[in-house]
Amino acid sequence: MSRMRLAFIAPRLPSGDAVGGAETLIKHHAHLAGELGHDVTLLTTCATDHYSWTNVIEPGRRTVQGLEVEMFPVDEKRDLETFLTIQESIMKGRQVSPEEEQAWLDNGINSSAMIEHITSGAGGYDLVMAGPYLFGITVAALRAVPEKAVLIPCLHDEPFATLEVFRNLLRNVRGIMFNTSPERDFASSLTRGKLPANEVVGFSVPEAAADVEHFRKTRPVRTPYVIYSGRREPMKGTPLLLDYLRTFRKRNEIDISLVLTGKGEVQLEDGDSEWVYDAGFLSEEDKLSAMAGSLAFCHPSTFESLGIVLLESWMAGTPCLVHAGSAVLTDQCRKSNGGLWFRCYPDFEEELLTLISSPVLQATLAKNGYDFVRKEYSREAAKKRLGGILDRLALG
């Protein structure tokens, strides 16, 4: 394997509570590539907030957690009204023209300074890897150097994915790194099977010993509880989870609680605060402890390209309940035999009752998930997969 100069591009630098799944994954890949002996730089913006995209960090080069990072300002000049109008049309499934698609990207998140850096050849990069797919900055960077472009799409079935600009991007980059096989299948369906060199690289989860009792003892939570970790917003399915548990409690008269960790507003109804505990943003240790103490981790989202939290939950020794509308999460549960999937409330009720009534089933699912993560998502396994695709791309 020859040593290459690699640039990884993420819209934000994942640190502290400014964490997005895609950014975490890209940083993870950058670290792995460094461990494989490549010369790696992470290119990102000076923004930390994914709503305002205000430049809050000084641009320039620095070392962050052992990784060389170069930060560029987000272009401040953007027509937000045009962006939002087109975005609404896309989300409602209306047909948009190629010009509108481009206007939407142009008025999204971009950084001319970063594109200038890439095209000028200042970094001397052999490959430029960028994601997730739906950012203007990703498309512009990969289009700027098509012969070096590697997409980390973090793709899932949503209206944006069907835009022609993204179908073209998937077809015309030099390589693609997917997170899961269902994601690759979906990309293949969008491009009618015409995909460049690609690999399901996935992710790696560090071995961790979660303390089952710590969270339960130090927080005012009632057991049993189910847990959800991550961004709390309609796209992630948190309102659905609240509705389902509210109904479950009422219909079955079982005092089950919900623990939420992460960021975002939660719309609670009267009486919910008695059984919903919002733990907010937790350290990795506390998060694992919260997961370990729960009956099940519930992921109600249908828009995922990889459920990193599912992997963490299995590592903590907890089974999962996921929405069957997500091919990716369902595939993870099916492959691991570590979780169940529901289409609707009746499925959810039946599955949760099954888990409550059978500690043996709960423990077996958890163990299956744990073994699956250790085997498929170890650092060595992920490194091997990443090394494989980088070697193939290096050979041209």
């Binding site: 409330y345 163990k367 744990y370």
Partner: protein, 150 residues
């Protein structure tokens, strides 16, 4: 940490099979009317996009909607749990309810009319589309047989 003792692939644990058996149980219960509960319909409000692609659950949803579409504007028993001045309080509450009912009756009755019309329209559309899809599926199947593509 407490690690589960069981081994991977333990007898009887195949999630695919387990989910299938849970779904069979759900289908039986659906037929028996176990989920005909307005609370279930309400719980599905954030899940409509997913259940509308499933014929069976759309039917369930419409049944639940039928049970909960109309606002109850009938009189109800008015009570008072406090013993002191219970009679007076009940009379006061009855007066408040009568006043409210008088001023909101037109609103609720119109709302019920709208709900009823919308429900009938949705059920009509559902039934008509289901019939059309079924006819088209039959025609495609016949054409495929005729062309030997099946």
């Amino acid at each position: 940490m407490d690690r589960p003792e069981l081994t991977i692939g333990a007898e009887g644990i195949d999630t695919e099979r387990l989910v299938r058996s849970i779904r069979e149980s759900v289908e039986e219960k659906l037929k028996s009317g176990f989920y005909n509960d307005p609370a279930v319909a309400r719980a599905e409000r954030a899940n409509i996009a997913h259940i509308t692609s499933d014929e069976e659950f759309l039917t369930l949803f419409l049944e639940n909607l039928r049970d909960s579409a109309f606002v109850d504007i009938n009189d109800f028993e008015i009570t008072e749990r406090r013993k002191t001045l219970a009679g007076l309080l009940v009379t006061f509450k009855k007066l408040v309810w009568k006043t409210l009912k008088f001023y909101t009756y037109r609103l609720w009755s119109q709302q019920n009319q709208v709900n009823g019309i919308m429900l009938a329209a949705m059920e009509g559309m559902h039934s008509s589309f289901r019939q059309r899809v079924s006819e088209l599926e039959k025609r495609i199947s016949e054409l495929e047989k005729k062309n030997g593509t099946q």
